[in-house]
Symmetry: C2
Subunit: 382 residues, 2 copies
């Protein structure tokens, strides 16, 4: 569905109901379950992959909150449940931390029938997925995203990776989970900054694909910020539906899928330039979307004078930054360009951007350095 | 074809001819080209994947011999050719060395249209393939194997990996090359130990799949040891044909493909137990095949009293060790069992072995620890 659902329509929905969004990739297809409470976990239980052991990979922030409950749910299903608790933070999304997962797996003699469970946000999901892709050349894994960002974006679609000092997500694999379980109850413990970071990715789906959803977001942003669970349920479901449609059409990012990176080329430069972890990914993407929207206007693709102001207003109401930072006091535009040139969308030296043509539909295009530099010089001031 | 070709029949073959063996994996299909001289490289040229740059990954032994020639062949086809020279040896098949490839790729701003070329033996092929699988979540790669072992086994079939201190090839991916180019001329520079290591994998294909090939090997082992290029050409082609048939039927080792690991469960224990690099892989596999053949007899599957002696004689004529080493002076059998339990074929604690049922056909089976321990105690003495 691409029509907007109003706040009043979801207010009457059955709280025990589970929303299911299917990712359709032939033999790699899998469901995303969205819900809360026992009804959700009973349904998840029916979908657990078979295996000789379950390995919960989580971090030291999430573990005290949810690891025990997940362990209890898995113990009835797997002969052995193992836990790996990693340090929390984007700065640990590297080979050394990944290797801690392998050390535990091999130390516990986990075999090819081990099933990994990623319990946490995007960093945990990306690292656990990549560990599952590589361990013994591939073991099954399940995403249990506990942040809004992970539920609406990173846990869905099979992109897994770690960072390299010279670039974000440079080492990774396309590797699909067997199942994604989005427990809306976990969003209740989310700090405001993490919630807004997730809303950045939610808002993204409007301009690239569905302006009716953008309008719904404008009408419901206060409910989302207030963590109204039914507003969040709809936002998660609609985001997953859009992501599912895009990923099912282009699993390995050879075309359409690139539109999901709206705001990300600028955003990745912000994250790398400030040092991973200094800016939350969703915040960097928000500031990046503002730049990408400006770029779309500059290229003549986005002529609705209202839209840009609406995007900025919505991001601000969601608690997101709309001003990209200075990365280099003496030559800021060049620094942005250098950082963006190692982006994975880059080909043969030219930097490719996702632009709106117009709002509601995104395309990917190479843009001359000079145009981008002018834009950066114009919009980013110390 | 599964019939034997005699030495006299290949003696008349056209030296300029190129043998092509096709790996049939739907959209991941690719050819193996086997030949020598300009005719081979002209054919290869027609198959190079498109790309913005070519990245030759090789080691400090192979680079002085063949890197310049390959660079010259690639320069006409790719705008940019980059070289990465790694230290030579199984002990460098680890994350630190793999990371050197990523450092160069990112340092040179190589993008998703970069094509990696693995120029070297099995270690280079496994690491380059894994780097290609992971870099930006996957870039194309070409295998240019320069050892017999790599030409007949490791370069074909898409198994890529690095070692972990707790186990060989534990971190990796199934990732197919776009092309394999086997230049028989490179075998002329191969040290005798490397040649025999390759013959270990060649000999393997007889007992697991094709006893007519085993007979051909018995008749031609002297020519192979003397590096007769036409004997080698047939051995490489027939080995690749058998591997192609097996891999095409089971890409990700969920069944049939496991038979290619005949001798490898014991062999991996020898490699790990002696420390990676102390025993060449092909030598460890040879000693492992002798144990696996004994195990087949002990289980009652291999009743031809002659076969075992023929296998040992053939391995010895090929210059291969047939006696497995002591790995632990006080409790050798237990040490072997412990090392074998982390093998990727292991499931739920039971160790699975490839056994002959009978010679010419292999199956995979769980075997009780007690039976294996008895065998090891019987056959391995200090």
């Amino acid at each position: 569905m691409t029509t907007a659902t109003t706040a009043s329509s979801f207010a009457q929905s059955d709280r025990a109901a589970i929303d299911v969004v299917q990712i359709d990739l032939a033999e790699r297809s899998y469901p995303i379950l969205i819900g809360q409470g026992e009804s959700l976990w009973q349904e998840a239980h029916a979908h657990w992959p078979k295996g000789t052991s379950a390995v919960i990979v989580t971090n030291d922030t999430v573990a005290p909150l949810y690891a025990k409950a997940l362990r209890q749910r898995l113990e009835g299903h797997y002969p052995k449940v193992i836990e790996v608790v990693l340090p929390d933070g984007e700065q640990y999304k590297n080979w050394e931390t990944l290797n801690q997962i392998f050390d535990v797996l091999l130390g516990q003699a986990a075999d090819r029938k081990a099933v990994l469970f990623a319990l946490g946000g995007g960093v945990i999901g990306d690292m656990t997925g990549f560990a599952a892709a590589c361990y013994m050349r591939g073991v099954p894994f399940v995403q249990v995203p506990t942040t809004l960002l992970a539920q609406v974006d990173s846990s869905v679609g099979g992109k897994t990776a770690i960072n390299h000092p010279l670039g974000k997500n440079m080492i990774g694999a396309f590797y699909q989970p067997k199942l994604v379980v989005c427990d809306l109850d976990t969003l209740k413990t989310l700090p405001a900054a993490e919630l807004s970071a997730g809303l950045g990715e939610v808002i993204k789906y409007g301009p690239i694909y569905d302006m009716a959803f953008f309008e719904w977001l404008e009408a419901n942003v206060q409910a989302l910020v207030a963590q109204d669970v039914e507003a969040l349920r709809y936002a998660v479901r609609r985001s997953c539906e859009i992501k599912a449609a895009v990923v099912s059409a282009d699993e390995t990012e050879s075309g359409l899928r690139e539109i999901l990176n709206f705001g990300h080329t600028f955003g990745h430069a912000i994250e790398a330039g400030k040092g991973y972890g200094a800016w939350l990914h969703g915040h960097a993407v928000a500031a990046g979307m503002v730049l990408a929207s400006h770029l779309s206007t500059k290229l003549g693709y986005q002529q609705d004078a209202q839209f840009h102001a609406r995007l900025v207003a919505l991001l601000e109401q969601a608690g997101l930054p709309v001003q990209a930072p200075v990365l280099d006091a003496t030559n800021n535009a060049q620094r942005y360009l250098d950082l963006m040139r190692v982006d994975k969308k880059s080909q043969g030296g030219a930097i490719r951007f996702v632009v709106l043509k117009p709002a509601g539909k995104a395309v990917t295009e190479k843009v001359d350095d000079a145009i981008v530099a002018n834009l950066l010089n114009e919009l980013i001031t110390a």
